[in-house]
Symmetry: D2
Subunit: 361 residues, 4 copies
């Protein structure tokens, strides 16, 4: 279903931006896992708005209440439901008939026959990624026991690009520390430049896009399946669920299209009795199945469509062309907030794949 993902580790999202609450039900959690709640709250804090000049000054309370599935501090194996109340919802006059460009106002209205809860973006709000991060934080902790780690950095914001990662032998220590950064660039000077770009966009009542490169380390070879359950299929279907993601690339992604086979192929090599590839252009996946190299992918995040500048659009009731200036609090850049969401999405998917791999190992 639209709001459920996963075969064995499965999440079901619910909620609208201004409904009583948003939340998630997580089924298929392995039993007996002691959860580090501080770690979960830390991950949620990474996504939360209102923390700096780059993101909306709204001070959301994202503290989840756990209703089920945990007993004596451990997962029971039955569903965990976590609920996040919508407390800071401004009561204001919405004009849902004025379609906000590049938002889901129009497509959502058609989909739900005009009955959608349009307040604050409703079910399409980026706020729905908070329960994704909650579920992902749990998945991360379970994966860590199998020595699987997930990292991400910002590849670019606008035209400011971070340093390239060696995707065949990534510097894990450098990546590990990025979770403390406001703008997780490996190169701090580039972070500074990116910050300037974001502030410039903000002062222009504009927004700016970017991309995120993520790495999953520690996944053994032989995980995943051919065709419709390829690792690429599973991961991409999850990543494209995140609002604003418009492209997903594995390994060197779009660069493949300009290369020759002799340039693109990843040679196998034996190192310390282990089979590896010299390069990792394929991002750790051959034939839909992991080959033991780091899984590497890039997600493009479009500039948030909520901008303060005047835009041309339509009043759906009168079917007249109108001008629109979106009021209120907006993120000039959501790329940095999307980083923990991409990581969470990956954790959920990879855990699901790892659980399934137990059935064919």
């Amino acid at each position: 279903m639209a709001n459920s993902y996963g075969k064995l580790f499965r999440i079901s999202l619910f909620g609208e931006s201004h409904s009583e609450a948003i939340g998630v039900v997580i089924d298929g959690v392995p039993s007996g896992v002691e959860l580090d709640m501080n770690e979960i709250m830390f991950e949620m804090g990474r996504r939360a708005p209102g923390k700096n000049a780059f993101s909306t000054p709204r001070a959301e309370s994202d503290a989840p209440e756990i209703l089920s599935g945990i007993f004596k501090g451990k997962t029971t194996g039955t569903p965990i439901c976590a609920v996040i109340r919508n407390t800071n919802t401004r009561s204001k006059d919405y004009t849902p008939e004025i379609l906000r460009p590049s938002h889901a106002d129009y497509s959502g209205k058609l989909r739900y026959n005009g009955c959608e809860d349009y307040r604050g973006g409703g079910h399409f709000s980026g706020r729905l990624t908070a329960p994704v991060v909650f579920a992902g934080a749990i998945a991360k902790q379970i994966l860590k026991k199998e020595n699987i780690d997930i990292f991400a950095h910002i590849k670019n914001i606008g035209k400011v690009y971070d340093d390239c990662i060696d995707i065949a032998n990534p510097d894990i220590d450098a990546l590990k520390n990025l979770k403390w950064e406001t703008l997780p660039f490996i190169n701090k000077d580039k972070a500074k430049s990116a910050e300037e770009e974001i502030l410039a966009a903000r002062s222009d009542a504009d927004s700016i896009g970017g991309s995120i490169e993520a790495i999953v380390s520690g996944v053994p070879g032989g995980v995943g399946s051919p065709f419709f359950e390829s690792v690429e299929s599973r991961i991409s279907s999850m990543l494209f669920s995140i609002p604003a993601v418009k492209a997903v690339e594995f390994g060197i992604g779009t660069e493949f299209s300009e290369l020759l086979g002799s340039q693109a192929n990843d040679s196998f090599v034996v190192e310390n009795d282990t089979i590896k590839t010299k390069t990792n252009n394929n991002g750790g996946i051959n034939g839909g199945i992991t080959n033991g190299m780091p899984i590497v992918l890039t997600a493009t995040i479009k500039p948030t469509p909520s901008i303060g500048r005047e835009q041309e659009t339509v009043n759906i009731n009168t079917k007249k062309n109108v001008k629109l200036k979106i009021q209120g609090r907006h993120d000039p850049c959501i790329v940095q907030r999307a980083v923990p969401v991409v990581e969470a999405a990956l954790a959920i998917t990879v855990l699901d794949l790892i659980l399934e791999a137990k059935t064919y190992a």
Copy 2:
């Protein structure tokens, strides 16, 4: 499951390159559809190898035998099974212990505990896309009755790029005729240049990559769902099932990352009493749901890893580094053969979405 795709229109693939046969079971086909078998064979011919200098000289017989699901020339609504015999299988000495770089030899061996049928690529062979094209050809015919059409052109082969399409108002007539082309470029001069690139790769015992841009016209707004069943999620999970696809972009895709919101947003406008967008950067999808504009996407096709040049690799039995020169018949470029596969994959996905849309319309 790995080899099944779809909720309501569902395909299940089977077969290996050198097994008795490959094929597909298609369930959920609407009943009473009169199928044009010539059209199906035409689509399969577009994918078939051995037709020109750009593709492998193997003369596969891709004629499918239909075992069920059609009665008196019409679909019954019960499953269609089509079988394609593997007749032209060379009996030769395989050395599966020598891992072909960037193929699924290694990951597949780990996945299937060394029991995979390695002959000719086995279940990972591109030949498995023939039944996908068969199923897609049926889906296309059903969609055509709802005025939904699917077109694709080659966006680039290596550094040779086709002309840009106006993705907000594509020239449907130009696109329609591309299905007759060996190299479906809109700009015939570019096709000529691309041909030269391919022939150069061939004479170097090399291969070359490219990308395919596809357009789905006629899908009404309001189709699809938020989050995990977003149109992007559904389409990407299908496209990444096609061997060699390593990136999927919607609308302007990766270009979003360098743009400002004011540049990226698609303004709504009323034209002839119809709500449209001026631009179509989002590729017809907002919030995971169609907005009535053409669905536009790009799939990157990596250069086929089967090249005649000497490569470094590993013998998995001895765990020694070895040299490999892949013998035999290979496509220097598979991009043009992937075009009908991408179209078929889209047709299958879009039909599944359209059937589901009947439940919430």
Copy 3:
């Protein structure tokens, strides 16, 4: 997944008897449905305990809080989450090591590696049927708009059998009024006798079983599918999800095994230009697909295993045989409380089938 059911109308349960709350997420609800909350509360009240001498004196508060999916009194089409707090949970000393016979204590402990929340039956508690009734009450209201109604009566409690229903031409008015009854027998004298049986069981610190016959009227012919999605498959998998159901029969069910074909077959007949069957031994289903006659089925409800009498069992820690006298509040009979649960389960399944039927009609 274990706790999710449905293809298009989908519910996901969560909660344990003594966790913070239990609840349900319902996805795929048609948008724009005005819900009658009183009707929902009435259905939940039918299931609630503590109302009479036949059921446990616990006064549960089953008032659900709706967190999402309803806006301006109508369904939005996005997920509805309803939460029921667990307020009346006695803090007492549990001895989960003493396995209660015929409960899930032992199998659940094995399934969840000893990490299950055992308090009050945990996730296996009959209390989890409250959110099923909530979801079913919504499904019932949607079905009613398509003139589909669901009724049930108690077929027997112990050896006291209700009058037989004419399952080819059921007396709908008689069935309709049963929802007001404490013991929904058509024959009031039999209800009185059943009451005596229940009170006798109660005074013996025992419990008593029974069976429920349910009828779905108004489902058109041609709904459902052959084989694995037969109407019988779909309904039975749902009914066997209800704790204590141990047999499911369609039409005359087990009676078929003693009959000849000439006795069992349902002759077709034309009445008022409509094709019907004279008898309805098959319970409205042929080849897994509805034939337009009422869907009829019987579910056997085992006597609740919670009895006050001394029982032999095992201490799982010491692996010694021990005696057990279950303390506390128990239902001597759960059959009457299971009636609205069976109706709800049917409503959920039938709505899901009806939605899917829109795709092949």
Copy 4:
């Protein structure tokens, strides 16, 4: 989908009685399993018609051709497709407008908008159980390696009942040998009486029903899940896929409805350091999860509706009441042929559950 079953071990059926072929695709088969083809053919032979006076004299050739998924005598782990040609199809004048009572003629026609292949029962033919037996025979061989065995006997044919099995401690040796019997009764005298009943029905141009009791031994405790993936839910949805099954009971099934809790409960007891239950009224399942006792269930098989006697029915074209005498070759009793089908269905389901159990063990 209608014709697919399973989460991890998954089968997809196709074919009609008179199409080119029927068959099955099996996905998720563990790799590296050496299959005993004689054993598979033996199982298929048990189901095959034409072997004695009790079943139709048609001599079907059920020899399956395996198209994929087996290499060097072992399963590859990729899908196995098996095809059974329809060779012995009589060309005769069908009158599909005359609805055969209790067959799927009418419901199927509505479901498929009159486009169904009606010849020989089409997709609804009992012949479609041949590929189920094929898949089940593979599942049985895989389960046997985990010491899981499946047996069944006929519980009754008409009013002739076999001896009761001790379902807490079944006599496995007696059950094992039943697979060689034409009428698998434990009590040979009862088999003789049943034979007389069947022959009497045949000479009256009639048919007769019965029931099958099946036992799965060796399943460890803790397999399965609560609610919608209870072992009962999974097994029943599979069993009700078999044409002619109209009731499914677990353990003592319908008998529960007349019992007190003190009579029905299965006491736990320690024997040889193993926890067991004294009785097995619950058929090895508590709370939807196995408890380590044999899984026991009964499936009711209705008398086949194809009888030679004159029946009342309707001509759907003229909408007139008409008389019908079904011509041709019919089984007077299908219960004995359904025995291997029930066993196969169980094997498929139990293997799927066992594979899933690896993910939470």
